[in-house]
Subunit: 571 residues, 2 copies
C-alpha cells in the first residue's frame, strides 16, 4: 500500500525537525539538489553503509577503494560520459529559465513517450506547442546538456576535470592493480562508497533526485565464459521476488525460475538481485513495496547490456533505488582503446591445450635473392596469410612496405604446426550492483513512517528496525532529580560501552520524551523511577507496542541487547 501523496512533505518536515536531513544552505535560501544530513541522518546513513559493507566487503570478500571525485577529461571521454551522459533541455528566451525537454513534453502530451534525439524532440515540442511554463516565453530549440559538473584542474582552462557521475570508473582504471592484488584470479570485486554528482536540470523530491548524492557501488569482474553460473547462486535461488521483465508479464517468481525460464539472463545478475533484496529488507524496506524491473532497451545507460532496478513503492510512485547492471566488457575495452594499456585477464587451463594449425611458411632461401631488401617484409606478409588463401595457387599478391608485390609459389610452403597454450587472455565482464544510499534512506524512512492521532494531535512513529535506528535505546530519569539522573547516567554509560547507540535527557514530561523517541524511531526506552531506588528495577518500553516491562538493573544491558538484536520481545 503506498502512502498518501502528501507523505513526502510530512516525512521531509519530520526529517528536518528531528535532525535527519534538511536542504543545504538554508540561511541563503537553499540551493536545489543539495541536502545536509544532520546528526540522526548521518548516523542512519552510517548504519546503511555499514550494513552494505557487511554484505559486500565482509560477505563477498570484495576490496574497498577510495578514489577522488574529480577525474580528468580523458577518463570520461573514454567512458562515453562526455558524449552520452546528457539530458535534452530547452531554455526560455525571455526569462532564461531552463527546462528538461522530456518534462515539458510529458506535461503537454501525457500519453506520448518523449523521443531521444534532438531532431525528433524538436519536432515533438513544436507539435505540442511548448512554451515556457513560467513566463510563457519562446523556448530555444532543444539541445543536449551534459550532466557532469565541469571544473578546471590547476590554473587556466587547459586541463578540464569532471566530478564523477558514478564511482565505477576508478575501479576500471585500477583494474591492473586490483588484478595483481587478487593474485590474478577471477572473479573478484572492488567497491566504493562515496559521492556521485549529476548536474540535474530539475532536482526534486527531497533527497530522491540530488545533484550531489551518496552511492555504494560494486564492480564484479568475471570471466565472460563463466558468468552464466554463480558459485553462490543456490543461496538465493529460492527467493521469490516481484519481477517486471522488459518483455513478458509482471509477476512473483523465484530467482531460480527466473534464470531457468530466461526471464533473467544469467545467475550472476540474479545472484546480485537476490543479495540486493535481502539487503534492502534488512535495512528496513517493506518487502511488499519492493519490486525488480528490467530496463527497456532504450532506457539503459550507454554502457549497459542488461539492467534490473530495485524499485521501492513510495508515496509518489515506484522509485529506482538500486541498479544491477551487466556492463559486459564495455568499460575495460573502452579504456584499453583510449589508453593503450592492457586491461585483460588470463585464465590458465587446468592442463595445457595443444592446438594443431596449418600455416604459410616463407622459403627464405628463395625470397632473399629474389626480393633483396624487401625479403623480410614479404616474409612477414606471407606469414600473416591464412593457409586457405594460398593453397593450390601459383602465385599470391602481398603488400610489403606499401607496395603490392607478386610472389611465386616457390617462395612459400604450407605446413602443419602444433602450438601449446597454457591458457587464454580475455577482457573481463563487469556485473555492477549500484546502490543509491540517499534513496534507500528515504525509502526506509517512508516505509517506517506512521501517523496517528493522540489526544487530538498528530502523533508520529518511525518504525525503524532496531539495528538501523540512530538511537537504539534512550535512558530517562522519570523526573530531573539527582538520585534518578545518577542511575540513568550509569545505565546509559553501560549500554554505550556495550556498543549501543544511546540517548539520555531529563527535561520535559516522560510522555513528551517518549513521543520524541517515537518520532526519531528509537525502539526502546528505559526509565528510572522511584521504584528503581527501592527495588532495583527499571521500566523498558517497546516503541511499536508501547508495552512496558520491569526488569532488574543487573539484566538491563543484556536484555536491551537481545531486544535490539530481535532475540527477545516484550510481551
Amino acid at each position: 500500500m503506498p502512502e498518501p501523496p502528501d507523505t513526502l512533505s510530512k516525512v521531509l518536515a519530520l526529517a528536518k525537525r528531528r535532525g535527519f536531513f534538511w536542504p543545504s544552505c538554508e540561511i541563503y535560501g537553499g540551493v536545489a539538489g543539495f541536502y545536509d544530513y544532520g546528526p540522526l541522518g548521518a548516523q542512519l546513513k552510517a548504519s546503511v553503509e555499514g550494513l552494505w559493507r557487511s554484505y559486500y566487503v565482509a560477505g563477498e570478500g570484495f576490496a574497498e577503494l577510495s578514489a577522488p571525485a574529480i577525474s580528468p577529461e580523458a577518463v570520461f571521454r573514454a567512458s562515453g560520459h562526455l558524449e552520452k551522459f546528457s539530458d535534452l533541455m530547452a531554455e526560455c528566451g525571455k526569462c532564461g529559465e531552463a527546462f528538461r525537454a522530456d518534462h515539458l513534453l510529458r506535461e503537454l502530451a501525457p500519453g506520448e513517450e518523449p523521443p531521444a534525439s534532438v531532431e525528433t524532440m524538436a519536432a515533438a515540442l513544436r507539435r505540442a506547442g511548448a512554451r515556457c511554463p513560467k513566463c510563457g516565453g519562446d523556448l530555444s530549440e532543444p539541445f543536449a546538456f551534459n550532466l557532469m559538473f565541469r571544473t578546471n584542474i590547476g590554473p587556466g582552462t587547459r586541463r578540464p576535470g569532471y566530478l564523477r557521475p558514478e564511482t565505477a570508473q576508478a575501479m576500471f582504471l585500477d583494474f591492473g592493480l586490483l588484478y595483481r592484488h587478487f593474485r590474478e584470479k577471477l572473479p573478484f570485486g572492488a567497491v566504493q562508497i562515496g559521492r556521485g554528482f549529476r548536474n540535474e536540470i530539475a532536482p526534486r523530491q527531497g533527497i530522491i533526485r540530488l545533484r550531489e548524492f551518496n552511492m555504494a557501488e560494486a564492480e564484479v569482474f568475471v570471466d565472460p565464459e563463466r558468468k552464466a553460473r554463480h558459485p553462490r547462486f543456490s543461496e538465493v535461488a529460492g527467493m521469490r521476488l516481484r519481477l517486471v521483465p522488459g518483455e513478458g508479464p509482471e509477476g512473483d517468481l523465484s530467482l531460480g525460475e527466473a534464470v531457468s525460464r530466461g526471464t533473467m539472463a544469467h545467475e550472476s545478475i540474479a545472484y546480485f538481485v537476490g543479495l540486493t533484496a535481502r539487503f534492502l529488507v534488512e535495512a528496513g524496506v517493506d518487502p511488499a513495496r519492493l519490486r525488480f524491473r528490467q530496463h527497456a532497451q532504450d532506457e539503459m545507460a550507454h554502457y549497459a547490456a542488461d539492467c534490473w532496478d530495485a524499485e521501492t513503492l513510495l508515496s509518489f510512485g515506484w522509485t529506482e533505488v538500486v541498479g544491477v547492471a551487466d556492463r559486459t566488457c564495455y568499460d575495460l575495452e573502452a579504456h584499453m582503446r583510449a589508453s593503450g594499456q592492457d586491461l585483460r585477464a588470463f585464465a590458465r587451463y587446468e592442463t595445457p591445450v595443444t592446438v594443431e594449425r596449418t600455416v604459410v611458411a616463407p622459403v627464405h632461401a628463395v625470397l632473399g635473392p629474389r626480393f633483396k631488401k624487401d625479403a623480410r617484409a614479404v616474409a612477414r606478409a606471407l606469414e600473416a596469410l591464412e593457409a586457405g588463401a594460398v593453397e593450390g595457387r601459383d602465385s599470391v599478391e602481398v603488400e610489403a612496405d606499401g607496395r603490392k608485390l607478386k610472389v611465386e609459389k616457390d617462395c612459400f610452403t604450407v605446413k602443419k604446426t602444433t602450438e601449446t597454450s597454457s591458457g587464454r587472455w580475455f577482457t573481463p565482464h563487469v556485473i555492477e550492483p549500484s546502490y543509491g544510499i540517499d534513496r534507500i534512506i528515504y525509502s526506509v524512512l517512508e516505509h517506517a513512517y506512521s501517523e496517528t492521532k493522540k489526544e487530538g494531535e498528530d502523533y508520529f512513529v518511525l518504525r525503524l528496525r532496531p539495528m538501523m535506528a540512530p538511537i537504539q535505546v534512550a535512558v530517562f530519569p522519570l523526573l530531573n532529580k539527582d538520585e534518578l539522573v545518577a542511575v540513568a547516567d550509569d545505565i546509559n554509560r553501560r549500554l554505550g560501552e556495550a556498543g549501543f547507540r544511546t540517548h539520555s535527557e531529563a527535561a520535559d514530561s516522560i510522555g513528551r520524551r517518549y513521543a520524541r523517541m517515537d518520532e526519531v524511531g528509537a525502539p526502546f526506552c528505559v526509565t528510572v523511577d522511584f521504584d528503581t531506588l527501592k527495588d532495583g528495577t527499571v521500566t523498558v518500553r517497546d516503541r511499536d507496542t508501547t508495552r512496558q516491562v520491569r526488569l532488574a538493573l543487573a539484566e538491563v544491558a543484556g536484555a536491551v541487547g537481545e531486544l535490539i538484536e530481535g532475540t527477545r520481545r516484550i510481551d
Copy 2:
C-alpha cells in the same frame, strides 16, 4: 630522528606495490594531486577515521554531519574564501607553465621571506631576476589565483558553485539547527569527515599535498566568556609536549604550564592540542617526531585569531598534519551579516539580573504641538541619545528624517529605569581541531617504516600498531595441502567472526608469505603445520620480534585478541 630523504620515494613505492595508495588515472599518465586508496589503504583510512570518531563523536559527544562538497557562491563570499583563499602565481609567456610565486622566490633568494602582496611580490621577483624554471621564458606579473575549484550549478553560468576547501562552513550554516538539536545549550560540537578540495598550483609529495584530500573537522561552539576554561582540561594538563610558540623559546612543556605561563591563550585550545597529541600517538605517530607549532601572525588563515599546528617530522621535514584554531566569532558573524539570519546563542542567568539605566525620555505633550508630523521621528532620535549627552544642556540638535532640528530642553527629561534580564545573547566562538587524514596516514606509514637487509636483499617491515593495521592477523597453512588449508580456513573464519581483520593465502613459501605480511604491517601470523594435525597446536609469530610461540587451537582466537589489544605479548 628523521628518515633519510629518499624514504618518501621508498614509502610511495611500497604503498603502490602493496595496495595502500597510488596516483589516480595512471593508465592515462596520472593527474598531479590526486591519489586512489587501494584495498589496504582504504582500510587504514577507515581505521584512522574510526579512531577519530571514537575521540570526537563517542568521546566528546559531538554530532556528526554529512554535507555536500559543492556550495553556492554566497557561502564563500561571506566566509572570505572568495576574496582571500588564494596563492600568488606567475605564468610563463613562452611555455604557458604556471608557478607559485613564493616557490620561485625561495629558489632564487633562499634567505628571503616571500612577501604577501601582489606589488611587493612583483618587485621581489624582478629583483631576483626570476625567469621560467622550465624553459627560461619571461614570466607574467604575479597575480592571485583562487584555490577553490569552480563549477556551475545547473545549466548556464548564472549559478557558480565551489568545491569546499574545508568542511567547516556547512557546520556554521547549520548552527541554528544544531543549536536546537543540542537543546540550546553550549558548549556543543559538530564534526564532519569528508573530502576537501584545494586547486593547488604545484601539488607534490605523494598524499601530502593533494588537490582532493580527506579531512576530519570538529567545530566546537563555545561561550566566549567561558572559553578560557575547559571542563575536561585536567585530563590533559599533565601532558608534556614539544611546543614551538610564535614568540619565545621552543621547548617541552606540560599543557598546564603552557596555559598558566600564557604560552597558550586558553584551556580550550590547550585541551584540543592535548587530545590531538593523544590521538596521533594512538594512530601510530612517533611521539619523538611530534611537535606543536603556533602560527605566526601573518601565516594564519584569514578566519583564525590563533592556531597551533600538530607537525610530524618526516623525511622531508616538519609537516603540518592537524591545525587547532580559534576562529572566534569570525564565521558566524560573517554569515549573519551576509544572510541576515540570527546565529546567536542565549545564555540564561541562574537568577535574572536587574540593571538600572539612566535614559532620555521625550515629553510627548510638548513635542506633538511643536513638531507636528515630525514629532515621532524627533522622539525616536531623543530616545537614542545617551543621557550624558543632554544633561545640563538647554537644547540639543537631532536628526529626524534627514533634517537637523533643534530641540529645547522642555521637550525631554532624564530619568532612571530598571530592566530585568533573564540572560544574554552572544555570538558563539568556535574552536576548530582540523585533521588532515591523508597526512596522518602518510606520517603513520613513514614512522612505521623500517628497512633492513635479509640475505642481501632489501627487507621492509611496517611496524603499524595492531589496532590500526589493515591486516591484523594472517592465517597460513604451511603448505598448500587440503588438510592444512581446512584447519587454516576454520581459524580464519573464527578470527573474522571475532571482529579481526584477517587474511589467508596458501601460495609461495612460508618465508615469502611472512615477508609480505611484514611489508603490509600485519602484526601477527598464525601458521598451521603438520604438528597441528598431531597435537592441535599452531604457531603464532610476532612481526616486530619475529618470535614464535605454539598455542593450542582452542586458545588461538582469545590469544590473538589479547595480542592485538596489547594485553599479551609473545616472549
